[in-house]
């Protein structure tokens, strides 16, 4: 074993006049033959009041630099652009890794010194870098497996207190669109949460999923056709999570009503499901959401909506006979059925503004709708608002909105 293997270093920190190391980032050059990738976690020795400490960094960008001042110099060095030219001496160059400081195990955030040996963090180091060591074991939700370029892996945990309960925030999942990676990860995280929550606390967690694309989330109770590979199983085992579908007895699918009302308006139909539809009664208090995409510079539409919401909610005399969408559009107080004309003025709002409101409403709930708006719901057609007043802990509710128009999707947020 040579000396470089013995110290297990992968490079040395490097501060220059133009590119200094700061309290939140450091750079290091890589030793020959070392492979480092973005998102690797590395550690560097740092000072501390007790002697030494370790600063952990996340590799963000790697760049290869040579002593060539310009691309033209490289062109000339290749015998003025000869592709077959092989120089006797390769140009001097090295790969520089940029790392963002994640943490220091003794809370020292002075810049790391130049010329310090950089090493890959081990599993314990990764946990320290991410602050996992400060999490109580019962609060740990496995959020994934960090695999480093040197083969070391560590389970990354999320603190349960930050994603569940009254003090929780949210999880932001970023990624490339169209590959189903973000959705898959969300599903994995939900499985992880449900599996890692003790049964006595599980009844406090309900999951609501919105299926926005195709039928991806309309088969979460099905086991996948393809078997897991050995490597995949090893990863699941390391995470201590079982790769399994959601139990069908805890899954509830809500599919939108179609134009004819017989079949749901969905890409696929699960074995069991409920159909949901929007009637005026269940949507009256959400009319503003329906108009969310419509410009309303002078808040005219907003004032009409407010009057209607309040009128229906308070059962005002004006709205005594308004029971469905048609009543709202073709009856009083906005329309005079006798003259078959919109009213000239209502509660200080000019008739022309009411006309604009009616035009948009008619477009959204009558002419340009997928079938979800009904004047009256059949027995088997559910109101999402009512359904979700009765959700149960430990259950998963999937609402399919994939085939809905954009304005229709707005009303799902109850």
């Amino acid at each position: 074993m040579n000396e470089s293997e013995n110290i297990q270093g992968i490079g040395k920190t490097s501060a220059t006049d133009r590119d200094p190391i700061t309290s939140d980032k450091f750079m290091f050059w890589l030793a020959q033959g070392v492979i480092v990738n973005p998102f690797d976690i590395v550690e560097v020795e740092q000072v501390s009041h007790e002697g030494k400490s370790k600063t952990y960094g996340l590799v963000t960008i790697l760049e290869h630099r040579t002593d060539s001042p310009t691309h033209l110099a490289n062109f000339i060095s290749s015998n003025f652009g000869e592709l077959s030219e092989e120089p006797n001496t390769p140009r001097q160059g090295t790969t520089i890794a940029h790392a963002n400081v994640l943490s220091n195990d003794k809370d020292i955030y002075m810049p790391v010194q130049s010329e310090r040996i950089v090493k890959f963090a081990d599993e314990e180091g990764i946990h320290k870098a991410l602050g996992i060591d400060t999490m109580e074991p019962e609060d740990r939700i496995p959020a994934g497996l960090i695999k480093m370029s040197n083969g070391v892996s560590a389970v990354a945990y999320i603190d349960k207190r930050y994603i569940l309960g009254p003090e929780s925030a949210h999880v932001n999942i970023s990624g490339i669109s169209g590959l189903a990676t973000k959705t898959s990860y969300a599903m994995f995280l939900i499985q992880s949460i449900l599996q890692k929550t003790p049964p006595e606390k599980k009844n406090k967690i309900a999951v609501i999923l919105l299926n926005v694309k195709h039928g991806d989330l309309l088969m979460i109770d099905k086991r996948r056709d393809k078997e897991f590979t050995k490597e995949e199983m090893e990863m699941w085992e390391k995470l201590e999570i079982e790769p399994k579908p959601f139990d069908s007895d805890i899954v509830h699918y809500y599919l939108p009503r179609s134009q004819n009302g017989k079949r749901p308006n969905s890409f696929i139909q699960p074995d069991f499901y409920e159909i949901y539809a929007y009637d005026l009664e269940s949507c009256a208090d959400k009319l503003d959401l329906l108009f969310a995409q419509i410009p309303d510079a002078y808040f005219t539409l907003e004032s009409i909506i407010s009057e209607i919401k309040e009128g229906i909610k308070s059962n005002e005399p004006d709205f005594k006979n308004v029971n469905n969408w048609d009543d709202l559009l073709y009856g009083k107080p906005l329309f005079d059925p006798q003259t078959k004309k919109p009213v000239n003025e209502w509660r200080g709002i000019r008739g022309s503004s009411i006309g604009v409101f009616r035009r948009h409403m008619r477009r959204m709930v009558i002419t340009n709708q997928s079938g979800i708006f009904v004047n009256s719901r059949a027995n088997r057609e559910k109101s999402l608002s009512e359904e979700f007043l009765n959700i149960k802990g430990g259950h998963v509710y999937v609402v399919d909105i994939a085939r809905l128009y954009e304005h229709e999707q707005m009303l799902v947020f109850w």
């Binding site: 002593d67 001042p69 110099a73 000339i76 290749s78 120089p87 001496t89 390769p90 140009r91």
Partner: protein, 381 residues
Amino acid sequence: MPNPLKEINPVLNLLGSEIKILPAIGGAVEELQHADEEEVEDKIINKKDIIETFAETPEPKPNNLYRKTPPLSRKEKHMFRFFIDGSLKTYFLGTGIEGTRSFPIELAQIGSAVIRREDDGTLKVHERRLKIILLLPKKNQGVSDTVWEELRKIEKPNFFEVVDFTLPDPLADTKSDPRDKAGAKARSSMHKLEIELIKSTDPYRNENSWLILDGSIKFVEEDIWNTWKNNPNVVGIAKSFRKDLIFQIDRRLKKRIDITTLLAGLPYGHRTVAFGAFEGQVAFWYVRIREQKEVDYPLMGVIKVEYPCLDRNPIPSELADLISSALIAERNVTPYGLDRRWHCSLYPIYVAEQVIKNSFFSKEVLMGCIKFPKPKIGGEL
């Protein structure tokens, strides 16, 4: 970070207390090197203006002065494995006044490095030496015997030396200005370091492992030649050389050719025939490593090669061809944009120079480390 040069403080303190010093404004001023220092050196070493002899066998014909030497890449024959260069930086620290004598006080950082090229072409530092020298004149031109003796007695670190720049020296003797003299002396000291490093490659050099030396093979400071036996497998490569030489290519017909004409007609991938210098001790020739169309001026892209003929026998043409071919293959990559002499630079030599220069203390460090007491303005002389 502690003062890295604190070990030289006793010497500076002694000078500050024993002689009056007018420090340079700002602490130290870097002396700029003459761009054509190598050419100047070539003139000093090679004093003859007319070259009268060929130094290769079979003897070349006067009507054919060029030989074709196509590039021979490292993959075909890895001939040159060691590359040596030296570098220096000199600083004017101030003017010393002792009695009625005033003289410059100069400091130089000198260094030399040998680069080893592995089979795959990667470079490693084989050895590197660095020194800091304080250059002072002695006796009637500068520091008194007493002060010099006190300076001598001070214990100095290995990397530091106090040098009398008035001591006879072939390079320094050509200068008259004391500051130039000090600079030339520093250059001589740098050559000494280079000689030490050449010796460090002695066990590794053989017919398949040659050393390229940046500059003239005929060192003036030390007769390293006595230590060499047979073929030392060393060549000296000069990027800059005398441009006023005359070659007498036919004694019988008294036919002469000047160096400009000789090199202007030298095609790419060719060498000139070898000429003799130092009474046959050195065979030298010129190799064009770049097409003339690639450079601005016909004399660009040409290097001078010096080969030591220890027994004063001419160099075999095949060997000169082989050396030239291998040298032409060294032309890429080039330090274009980093060195104005990129067209005749050999990259490993450039890397050796960088190794040294990057090991030097920066001017800021030097200025911070070297402080003389401020002079009194006015008052007694």
